[in-house]
Symmetry: C2
Subunit: 275 residues, 2 copies
Amino acid sequence: MIIDCHGHYTTAPKALEIWRNQQIAGIKDPSLSPKVADLKISDDELRESIETNQLRLMHERGSDLTLFSPRASFMAHHIGDFNVSSTWAAICNELCYRVSQLFPNSFVPVAMLPQSPGVLPSTCIPELEKCVKDYGAVGINLNPDPSGGHWTAPPLSDRHWYPIYEKMVEHDLPAMIHVSTSCNACFHTTGAHYLNADTTAFMQCLTSDLFKDFPTLKFLIPHGGGAVPYHWGRFRGLAQELKKPLLQEHLLSNIFFDTCVYHQPGIDLLNTVIR
Amino acid sequence: MIIDCHGHYTTAPKALEIWRNQQIAGIKDPSLSPKVADLKISDDELRESIETNQLRLMHERGSDLTLFSPRASFMAHHIGDFNVSSTWAAICNELCYRVSQLFPNSFVPVAMLPQSPGVLPSTCIPELEKCVKDYGAVGINLNPDPSGGHWTAPPLSDRHWYPIYEKMVEHDLPAMIHVSTSCNACFHTTGAHYLNADTTAFMQCLTSDLFKDFPTLKFLIPHGGGAVPYHWGRFRGLAQELKKPLLQEHLLSNIFFDTCVYHQPGIDLLNTVIR
């Protein structure tokens, strides 16, 4: 069975984006705030958005199952406060759940969290619990930089994040470490911020003893691990300099890379280096 | 002739670091500020620091000439104000110049700039001119993030940087795009910040038409281009989506990568992808 571990609902019906834009407008002018009930997307619309896109490609390319989370760039945790993120995460997670119900053999939900800059990660636990218990989510997306490119949160190795890790361990739930849209003009979202975050997250784990505290914690670092496999020799050397164990032993029981590398030489390198 | 385009004076005599620490102490307590004349490093000390390190390795490994700039992590442009950076850059550049005078067949100076967060890049021009005219510098190191990991400066494609580019073009001077120490706890300096900056700089150029404004501008992106060659397919796709020319035509007459990738599979990928 071929499982795509990094699927996002990038093709959700337009009504979702329109609702979100109204929600954002409502941050400045509450009279514009939409109600959750204002968003109406039928099962037929969901079916069509999936059958003509993800499911068609899964059939064409021969993959069987997609772990399916809300669109990463739309999470935009930097917008608004915790309540804004909370409502938005609930809506997006429910849509992924509905897709998984409509296509139970092809999609399994992964939850986004209602993170917000400067807000404690423990506030995300109710949404996490709901997605696991009610929606059957098998993983979460964890944003190491809810500020959207300003990197104001502590590193992933900091105790700041431990409440999330405790829940992950309790439910044997892996996290994909995935940032969202960059609102820092220096960083293009998909061309710089995503890859930088992957590299950054790996190095935050390397310098720490996080996986001593949580031996069963599992992180998926997407986009082929950012710059990591290409610079495996650099990271090997850094681990040595920092008196850490060999990378394989230090990190690779807990960190996994996807194969989201869009050309053959990159895929070949990944398969050569990470075994 | 084999030229190492990315050499730093990482082995400068300890007196340099001691002086710098005093300079930093002097930011808070001016009574502790050292004078430039307090730093005394003899030619013999310089010779020894080079002969037992860089020059020995150049002979062992068969390279002929090193383009030699001050230690990147010591630039630390985020420390103090323009005057602090200015004095520090002058000292570091003079040391690289003296090394080049002691070993004229082996070292050619490359200048660091007295950048400082929030200060206009044009303030760096006098030091740049001095290094070119008096020291024979053949390049500069340009820090795209003088804040040290907070990324508060505009992207390299912004007119903010144009005064530097005008001088580079005037003197046919390439710039290595090289950040310095990270003071953001999220980013390990050499394991994340350096590689992220390389990827970021490439993407800032990709999304812009900088090289239409400066057709002869030359950027060296170090550390094998950060994540770029490994994700060449991603960047090719982004250029296509942004209606830019093919990467080769759009960027590779102006952007060059070094081969600072510390394992063979990475070097092999680089040589396969960038030709």
